[in-house]
């Protein structure tokens, strides 16, 4: 017959194989872990692994928001600047309005800036690359104005103790990253909004023809992305006790690298938080491992660049296999 159903003999191995094919980043991750375990005795220690997770979690939280935007087929280059804004507000305002209100204002600033980005993209029809490139510069400028070009310091140091909660080797930052990633993975697979995200990224016309409010939808995802950036900024301000006007500079690039490394596609319609978690962890392991080996900074950058291209090439290769 012409209409054959995909009858799949679902053995566990077959399922695992298919999953690995779609989530190739985890093989990469395993490989990097093995390589560094063999080359540095300090790598595979509970302490170091906990560090990796905490360090990775900052980019990770940004990546969660970025993944939503990227599955939509858009991009947000302003996350680094939004992060700096949120952290500056959270620290700068706490002497005036109290710690938690300041944190809330920080969060709200992220949501508002994301909303603003999304509205501009949706209503103007400009590409998000251009809009958020403007955001990247403009918002950073605002941060400099607000901070008066200086780092803001906390006066009440109990602020820096807020995230010092651990679950075994897992810091609160890491836990928050995983929780957010899992939550948004659930949103992607189990909610209307998630389906809309894939549909819009995959075939905007079909989505529009089906009555999905594409503009509102994109605004929501940009708002989510801005909020994630603010969460990241506030956690960073707690960890450092200061808000640098330059905080999070080029982090947007690391974030995009982590997401793309994971396998989420820039053209939209395809990706998941599992992939992003894989990308974030692989990136974190690479940075940490190379540092343990005392690799000079420029070599580190070269290795990362190579890995990024390899991972994307592998993705292409596997997908060609799948399709023909």
């Amino acid at each position: 017959m012409t209409l054959v159903s995909n009858s799949r003999s679902d053995t566990f191995l077959a399922v695992l194989g298919r999953w690995l094919l779609r989530n190739h980043i985890w093989s990469f991750f395993a490989l990097t872990v093995i390589v560094f375990s063999l080359s540095s005795p300090f790598f595979l220690t509970v302490n170091n692994l906990g560090n990796i997770l905490t360090q990775g979690a900052f980019i990770g939280i940004l990546a969660v928001g970025m993944t939503m935007v990227m599955i939509d087929g858009e991009i947000d280059l302003s996350v680094g600047a939004v992060l700096a804004m949120a952290s500056a507000l959270a620290i700068g305002l706490q002497d005036h309005i109290g710690v938690w209100p300041a944190v809330l204002v920080g969060l709200a600033s992220g949501a508002a800036l994301g909303f603003f980005n999304g509205t501009l993209v949706a209503l103007s029809g400009m590409h998000s690359f251009v809009v958020t490139l403007g955001g990247l510069i403009g918002i950073r400028g605002l941060v400099f104005i607000y901070t008066g070009e200086n780092a803001l310091m906390v006066t009440d140091f109990s602020y820096t103790e807020i995230p010092e909660v651990y679950l075994g080797p897992l810091s609160m930052t890491a836990i928050l990253f995983f929780a957010l990633a899992l939550f948004f993975q659930w949103v992607l697979t189990s909610t209307r909004h998630g389906r809309e995200t894939y549909a819009v990224g995959d075939n905007v016309e079909a989505a529009y023809d089906s009555g999905i409010n594409v503009k509102r939808h994109k605004i929501i995802n940009f708002t989510i992305c801005g909020t994630m950036a603010a969460i990241c900024g506030i956690l960073l301000s707690m960890r450092l006790g200061t808000a640098e006007p330059n905080a999070g500079k080029v982090w947007e690039l690391w974030t995009i690298i982590a997401v793309v490394l994971g396998g989420t596609r820039l053209i939209g319609g395809y990706g998941s938080m599992w992939m992003t978690i894989g990308g974030v962890l692989t990136l974190a392991v690479l940075r940490n491992g190379l540092r343990l080996l005392n690799t000079p900074n420029y070599v580190e950058l070269m290795v990362m660049g190579t890995v990024l291209i390899l991972a994307v090439a592998l993705d292409k290769l596997l997908n060609m296999k799948e399709e023909t």
Binding site: T2, L3, S5, R192, A206, D209, S210
Partner: protein, 501 residues
């Protein structure tokens, strides 16, 4: 039973440079199938998009279920029970079948959380009602064009709509699938649904519809009772003249062999395919949708790699070519799905036409615009393509006119072998015979032509020799007296039975 469920009155819609609809009025009764016919670019799809809330008309009213209704957008239309099944499939390939059936209207609870089980079982029910053999969990991107279309059609079932619009639904369905569709249409009809049916296939229109409205250049020419009219009357209203229904066949004057395919196989797609075609010969490839015809010729053209087999080009064995090499050797493939494979939608007709053979239109990589324009004009008039100018984005053209540009783009390079995959899909009756004439003309100029078609009269009408293909195998080759409908059907169906039994 026969009350009017939908009435359009005085609908006018213009695009820059064209009046797509000019004071169009039309009514649809509950429980009737109402045909909408007209040439490519007559405005059929535009009218339906107005009805489905995708375009806003400048003038006119939609009176739905007795009340003047403002259709605010596609979702609003669907909520009100008006469902449009698009001419160009409107699906998200990365999503599953179930998710696509309910695209944008997934069942959720109050908080927007998907009810996956409900989604799945509802979709399953819709698929079963249609008799689809694939499940709700399959990714749509992995389905063939025909199956994807079934997914769109399943939406009508799923949404229990009261007006359903089919825009050329059978363009890529097999006869069995078409019968299934007609079955569905009849059961919708029995439920009192009003159906608007757009098609270029006259036999279908006379088979399934109750009334026919003819549209020409955006204006209604009249509405006929199907039972009291005939094909000639309808075509005359459509194009202003009657058509001779005879097929022009090229004179049988064959030269040297151009291509021989020997034992070409690819697991799961086709098996041991062998044939040859000579200069001046039109070889027909008949089979049902899904028989592996397109896949086999795509392999010849280098789009896919075969597992085994060899190609002989003008007497010499050649390595499997890449599409670029195939084009340079003198092959041309006009693919069946124009939107994905055929055109750069953001470019105009002029640029699309010259795209595969830029070297013919340039010197030292500087484009020769005059030559491009001349070629564009030549095919625009030869195929009567309706476009406002050489640079109108092809995305703005009607479906049939896009298809004509796909043809033009491959014809203008003067290939030695041209493979036409469903060349008249979505093309109006007037231009259809123009394309048949063109095929004959090409063969008489000495080209080897392979025509893939699921339309029996077409394949018999234009070819000198017909191969029947079924389930990836060539199951018969017919010439002269042997080449008739009965033999082709026998070959194809006997093979299918023996494969099943």
């Amino acid at each position: 039973m026969n009350d009017i469920i939908l009435q359009l009155s005085g609908i006018t819609k213009t695009f820059p440079g064209v009046t797509a609809l000019d004071q169009v009025s039309l009514d649809v009764r509950a429980g009737e199938v109402h045909a909408l016919v007209g040439e490519n670019g007559a405005g059929k799809s535009t009218l339906m998009k107005v009805l489905a809330g995708l375009y806003k008309a400048e003038q006119g009213d939609i009176i739905y279920q007795g009340r003047t209704t403002d259709v605010a957008g596609p979702l609003d239309a669907r909520r009100k029970g008006i469902l449009l099944i698009h001419q160009e499939l409107s699906l998200a390939p990365e999503l599953s079948v179930a998710e696509n059936i309910y695209l944008g209207a997934w069942p959720t609870n109050r908080f927007g959380v998907l009810k996956k089980r409900e989604l799945r079982s509802k979709a399953q029910a819709a698929l079963q009602a249609l008799g689809c053999a694939f499940g709700p969990d399959v990714r749509v991107g992995t389905l063939s064009v025909a199956m994807q279309q079934m997914v769109e059609i399943a939406r009508a079932e799923a949404f229990s709509a009261s007006v359903v619009i089919f825009d050329e639904p059978t363009a890529s369905l097999t006869d069995t699938e078409k019968e299934q569709l007609f079955h569905t249409i009849r059961s919708l009809k029995a439920r009192g649904v009003g159906i608007i049916y757009i098609s270029h296939k006259m036999d279908e229109i006379f088979q399934i519809t109750d009334r026919i409205t003819v549209l020409r250049d955006g204006q209604v020419q009249g509405t006929l009772e199907t039972a009291q009219s005939d094909v000639n009357q309808v075509t005359r209203m459509m194009i202003g003249r009657t058509l001779d229904t005879y097929f022009v066949k090229a004179k049988a004057d064959f030269g040297a062999e151009v291509l021989r395919v020997e034992g070409l196989s690819k697991a799961g797609l086709f098996n041991d395919v062998s044939f040859s075609v000579r200069e001046g010969e039109v070889l027909g490839l008949y089979g049902l949708v899904g028989a592996g015809r397109s896949e086999a010729v795509e392999t010849v053209f280098g789009v896919r790699r075969a597992d085994s087999g060899q190609l002989v080009w003008k007497g010499g064995v050649i390595a499997p070519p890449t599409p670029r090499q195939a084009i340079d050797m003198g092959m041309a493939l006009v693919p069946e799905s124009r939107k994905e494979q055929g055109l750069v939608l953001m470019m105009g007709g002029r640029e699309n036409t010259s795209l595969p053979h830029l070297s013919l239109f340039s010197a030292l990589s500087v484009m020769n615009r005059a030559k491009e324009l001349a070629t564009f004009e030549k095919y625009r008039s030869a195929l009567s393509i309706k476009t406002t100018g050489p640079d109108q984005e092809v995305s703005q053209l009607s479906g049939g006119n896009q298809q004509k540009f796909v043809l033009a783009k491959w014809l203008c390079a003067g290939p030695k072998l041209i493979i036409l995959d469903e060349p008249t899909r979505g093309i109006d009756v007037g231009s259809k015979s123009a394309i048949h004439e063109l095929i004959a003309e090409l063969a008489e100029q000495g080209l080897a032509v392979i025509v893939i078609s699921s339309e029996m009269p077409e394949v018999l009408g234009v070819s000198h020799r017909v191969l029947a293909m079924s389930e990836g195998e060539i199951v018969g080759s017919f010439e002269g007296q042997e080449m008739n409908e009965e033999n082709l059907i026998d070959a194809v169906s006997y093979h299918r039975q023996s494969a099943v039994g």
